[in-house]
């Protein structure tokens, strides 16, 4: 008896509260930058593709919805020849972002990806690649890696000495 009265009272009380519902899509909720929505591929501060096609995002993906193929430019810089995410399978778990050693793959606060045709949820590299560095403005993997690429020779990365002269016996 007491419980029933208390329930009716609670309902009455809530009738005078401000509604939580917003008028989507006219109104949009605030989403934090770390919200896990649509996946993008970012560029490094020099404007080059950040992705080095290491396959770690694909390995981390629990639904195996990332497929890519590595290739190289003429100077040894590695990048994906194709990079495909099947968003109809993606569960937006963010493991790929955590696995990415170059901060290339990032999840964004965009979730509006409805399609009438599932096939349209297959995103290729052209659909994923944005023109900026995303959440991390400064990081450039090739500045810290030992690999030589166009414009960065051996010994020119951060915290590297000049290449060894193997012909000298001096210490």
């Amino acid at each position: 008896m007491l419980s029933n009265i208390r329930t009716i009272w609670e309902i009455l009380r809530h009738s005078f509260r401000r509604p939580e519902t917003i008028q989507y899509p006219e109104q949009k909720p605030y989403l934090a930058p770390r919200f896990r929505g649509r996946i993008i591929l970012s560029r490094d501060p020099d404007g080059e593709e950040r992705c080095v096609a290491c396959y770690l995002c694909a390995a981390a993906c629990p639904v195996d919805c990332i497929a890519l193929q590595a290739t190289e430019d003429g100077y040894g810089r590695r990048y994906p020849a194709f990079f495909r995410i099947n968003f109809s399978r993606c569960i937006l778990c963010g493991f790929c972002e955590e696995a990415c050693p170059t901060l290339a793959i990032q999840l964004t606060p965009d979730y509006e990806m409805c399609e009438y045709d599932r096939q349209n949820l297959v995103y290729e590299k052209e659909d994923l690649l944005i023109s900026g560095p995303g959440k991390y403005p400064d990081y450039n993997f090739y500045r810290v890696a030992g690999l030589a690429i166009a414009g960065k020779d051996k010994g020119e990365a951060e915290n590297e000495s000049e290449p060894v002269d193997t012909h000298t016996l001096l210490p």
Binding site: V52, V122, H167
Partner: protein, 905 residues
């Protein structure tokens, strides 16, 4: 057996091991770098530190390097002692100080021993604030990529390359922490075994350059156990596929065959599978490839049925590079009396002799492992490095074996690599190399002799006479030859395990007979003699054991009108016989059906071409040079109209109305008929190992449990995932589902164990370190000769051709890169192959080195550059065998030199 105590618990182990071997063999995880089961211990990296205690009351103990400490009876050690753990963590931190931040762009990542060991020791944070040392890389040719920054100075590369494989151009250069592993100058690595550096290097300094061009991580490759198709030794391989393309070949350990290593032809020759020269659809051709018409499978079968309407007029030509099952299916289609082995005349004779010798006994065929254990070897007429490379690598281990046998006199344990090799410097192995031209094995041999093939036969019989003149009287040879024969005979007589090596390389069956004579004599004397036969192709022996007629009788049958239709299985006849004879036959034959995977000069002339599967797309059996039947499994499903050769033949039989073929829906049905028909192949029936664990669908997965992209790789075509293709022929599935534990030895698709992502995880698959795989090595030998005392020695044949004036006896010169048909489709292999040339000794040369000469060989005029080859025997001329641009040599033959040549406009 001795007892050692690890963490206070007693374990019984085999005597004569070091502690690292013992720990790994018992299944403990102990990090190491410089040790390798095939290379022994040098104690260079200080990584495998454990604590050793004097007795059960000792609590302090001392840190020792496990790889350099013998596992004596009663040894007490602790792997998990805090001090030892701390020591190992510090060592790896030092090793990592200069290691670059490269893993995401490093090809070794995911199968890197350094990664595994770093995780195993727990080192995860870089404390050093000092700059990293860097190095410039070298261009090491088309096979190996060099990234010297990643080096941790374990010295395994030079120990393999120089000490094990006998190479000289890779070395440790410079000094102190500048030490550099590379060549004196950039340039292709010269050793035929350089590709093994990829697996020997514990990190990413040496990586596979052919994989780099279509890079895929280990976990993404669909893999299956396979057998190499590029020579006759039958090395076990693990090919890897991704996105319908073959991406790389890795070694698959087989204790008795290839051990830990492969040659570069086997490792890099795979690209014919992806080649643009592949035949992918049934083609109807009328004269030339330009007029070829694509056909549907049903149309092709209708056409074939019409062509095969008169079964009495159909002949079949088999192939030494096709599976045993495919050859059998062809034999069933045309009938045994119309089945021709597609072998060159000389191969047909040599292999016939070889098969006869192996079957008659009493000396068994040598395994490759047995080759390394021989204490005296006589190579008669075979350039082993080029025709059977892994056999040459194993012959090079005779020196090590010889010093291992005497190290106990010096108080040095067998696994002490530096010590054993130091003693080995004093020892020359009793390796005698008698070849028609200088070879790469000469530097390792105690004595080397170059002579024309018929003189080598005479030497072989002279050695037999020197062994026992009552068996065979000394032939007419000069004093030097006689002295050499005596020396060889003495060494062979002294040996406990003498080895005789001969093969098809010179095209002279008498060489094989001479070698067999010696082996038989020595075997009868009571030593464990063995006979190693080098055969040219992956199924040469299997095809020859199947019987069949020679190629000339096929030409005759067509010429005389007894047959008008010819079915050619995976064979380019222009590589087997004189072009004129092949032309004549192909012109006269009314219907030519070619089943092949590559466009060849023969397929171009066919009327109907059917697309066959390569070794990577079909399951089948190959018989190697020792008569071991080994099964290779398809790595990927065949695409489109491509079918296994035997499956096409089964469909042809059905279309032509043969009764027998209807039951051949699976490989096992065909195999059952094969062993019923030919009992010599009986062991083939039991080749498929049964998985010990019940698995879904009864199959083991070809894909790793970390295989990626399953729901995205085909999404660009259709977002709905396709059903994985079924495989009726193998106990393996094209899937990542199923039991992923330790498979039976014959079904090892990848070597991986928790915490061990690199191929070093192999120790978890072996019954003992460096020993057979758990559950026994795969494959079965068809021929175990009966022990009989009834030996009928071969007689010395009358010598045939002697060159006339201006003529030279033709000797085929074999090249590891160039002489084999399929591997030449790999760009890297083609780059390493020589250009056609004519080799003469300088004394006989009419013009200078590199100048063009005009020559006449089997009725054809050619212009080739001259190559001076000091050491070539008198009145012989060498032509590279099988090289594009060099016509097929029908042996024996002579070359006539017409004078200085010029290239015709």
């Amino acid at each position: 057996m001795v007892t050692i105590y690890i963490e206070g618990k007693a374990y019984k182990i085999k005597q004569g091991q070091n502690l690292l071997q013992a720990c790994l063999g018992l299944g403990f995880d102990l990090p190491y770098f410089c040790w390798h089961p095939a290379l022994g211990s040098v104690g260079a990296c200080r990584q495998c530190a454990v604590k050793r205690f004097k007795d059960e009351n000792d609590t302090r103990g001392e840190i020792v390097m496990a790889c350099m400490t013998p596992a004596d009876d009663g040894t007490r050690i602790s792997i998990n002692d805090p001090e030892a753990v701390q020591f190992r963590a510090s060592v790896i931190e030092w090793l990592m100080i200069n290691h670059p931040h490269d893993c995401p762009v490093c090809d070794e990542g995911g199968e890197c021993h350094l990664q595994d060991m770093t995780v195993m020791t727990g080192h995860n944070y870089r404390h050093s604030r000092f700059p990293k040392r860097t190095h410039r890389n070298q261009d090491l040719g088309p096979f190996i990529n060099h990234e010297m920054n990643r080096c941790i100075q374990c010295y395994r590369c030079v120990r393999f390359y120089r000490d094990y494989a006998g190479g000289s151009d890779l070395n440790a250069l410079a000094s102190h922490d500048h030490v550099y592993f590379g060549r004196f100058q950039s340039g292709p690595l010269e050793s035929e075994f350089s590709g093994n550096l990829v697996e020997i290097c514990p990190t990413g300094v040496f990586t596979d350059k052919s994989l780099k061009s279509h890079f895929t991580r280990k976990w993404d490759l669909q893999t299956a156990p396979s057998v190499c198709v590029h020579c006759g030794l039958g090395c076990n391989t693990i090919p890897g596929e991704r996105y319908d393309e073959l991406r790389r070949i890795r070694n698959r350990y087989h204790h008795q065959v290839n051990g830990y290593f492969l040659c570069d032809r086997g490792r890099y020759g795979y690209e014919f599978v992806n080649s643009t020269q592949r035949i992918r659809h049934p083609l109807r051709q009328a004269g030339s490839r330009e007029e070829a018409k694509l056909m549907m499978e049903t149309e092709a079968l209708e056409l074939a049925a019409a062509m095969l309407a008169d079964p009495g007029k159909v002949i079949g030509i088999g192939s030494p590079r096709a599976f045993l099952e495919s050859n059998f299916a062809l034999r069933a289609l045309v009938g045994p009396e119309r089945f021709h082995a597609g072998l060159s005349d000389s191969d047909f004779k040599c292999l016939g002799t070889g098969c006869n010798i192996l079957q008659r006994g009493p000396v068994p065929a040598a395994t490759l492992q047995g080759v390394a254990l021989a204490d005296a070897a006589f190579v008669l007429g075979e350039d082993v490095t080029q025709t059977a490379p892994l056999m040459a690598l194993n012959l090079r281990q005779m020196r090590y074996g010889k010093s291992v046998r005497i190290v106990s006199d010096f108080q040095v344990p067998e696994w002490h690599d530096a010590g054993v090799r130091e003693i080995g410097q004093l020892q020359s192995p009793a390796l005698f190399n008698a070849t028609p031209y200088p070879t790469r094995l000469d530097d390792e041999a105690m004595r080397t002799v170059y002579a024309a093939p018929h003189d080598l036969v005479r030497l072989g019989f002279a050695v037999l006479a020197a062994l026992d003149a009552s068996v065979f009287p000394m032939p007419d040879v000069n004093d030097a030859m006689q002295a050499l024969a005596n020396e060889i005979a003495q060494a062979l007589l002294k040996a406990e395990r003498p080895l005789l090596v001969a093969g098809t390389g010179c095209g002279n069956p008498a060489l094989i007979e001479a070698a067999a004579n010696m082996a038989w004599y020595l075997g009868r004397k009571g030593s464990a003699a063995a006979f190693a036969l080098c055969v040219p192709e992956c199924n040469s022996l299997g095809l020859r054991l199947m019987g069949g007629l020679d190629l000339n009788s096929a030409f005759q049958a067509i010429d005389e009108g007894r047959a008008d239709t010819v079915v050619i299985l995976e064979n380019d006849l222009y590589r087997r016989a004189d072009a004129q004879a092949v032309d004549a036959m192909l012109q006269k034959a009314r219907n030519i059906i070619v089943i092949d995977h590559q466009q060849t000069a023969t397929s171009e002339k066919a009327h109907l071409v059917l697309p066959a599967a390569t070794f990577a797309e079909a399951t089948g059996t190959l018989i190697n040079n020792e008569g071991r039947a080994q099964r290779g499994y398809a790595v990927m499903p065949p695409k489109g109209a491509v079918r296994a050769g035997w499956r096409w033949l089964q469909m042809l039989m059905k279309a032509a109305g043969h009764a027998g073929a209807s039951s051949w829906l699976r490989l096992e049905n065909l195999t059952a008929d094969l062993v019923k028909d030919m009992p010599v192949f009986q062991p083939v029936a039991g080749l498929d190992p049964k998985p010990a664990m019940p698995t879904p669908g009864g199959k083991l997965p070809r894909q790793s449990h970390r295989y990626t992209g399953r729901t995205a790789m085909h999404a660009d075509i259709d977002v709905s995932e396709p059903k994985p293709p079924a495989d009726e022929d193998a106990p393996l599935a094209f899937s990542m589902e199923g039991y992923d534990g330790r498979p039976p030895a014959g079904l090892i698709s990848r070597v991986w164990a928790p915490g061990w992502n690199s191929e070093q995880s192999l120790n978890k698959f072996q019954s003992e370190i460096g020993g057979p795989l758990r559950g026994g090595d795969p494959g079965r030998r068809l021929i175990e000769p009966p022990a009989s005392d009834d030996i009928r020695y071969f007689a010395m044949p009358e010598q045939e051709i002697l060159p006339g004036a201006d003529e030279y006896l033709l000797v085929p010169i074999h090249h590891i890169f160039g002489s084999e048909e399929l591997s030449m489709a790999s760009p890297g292999v083609a780059r390493q192959a020589p250009q056609p040339y004519l080799a003469l000794r300088p004394e006989d040369a009419p013009v200078g080195d590199g100048e063009q000469v005009r020559l006449l060989v089997s009725g054809k005029s050619l212009v080739l550059p001259l190559k001076l080859l000091p050491g070539m025997p008198e009145r012989t001329a060498g032509l590279p065998d099988g090289l594009p641009g060099v016509p097929k040599m029908v042996l024996p033959a002579v070359v006539k030199i017409l004078g200085k040549g010029s290239i015709e406009k």
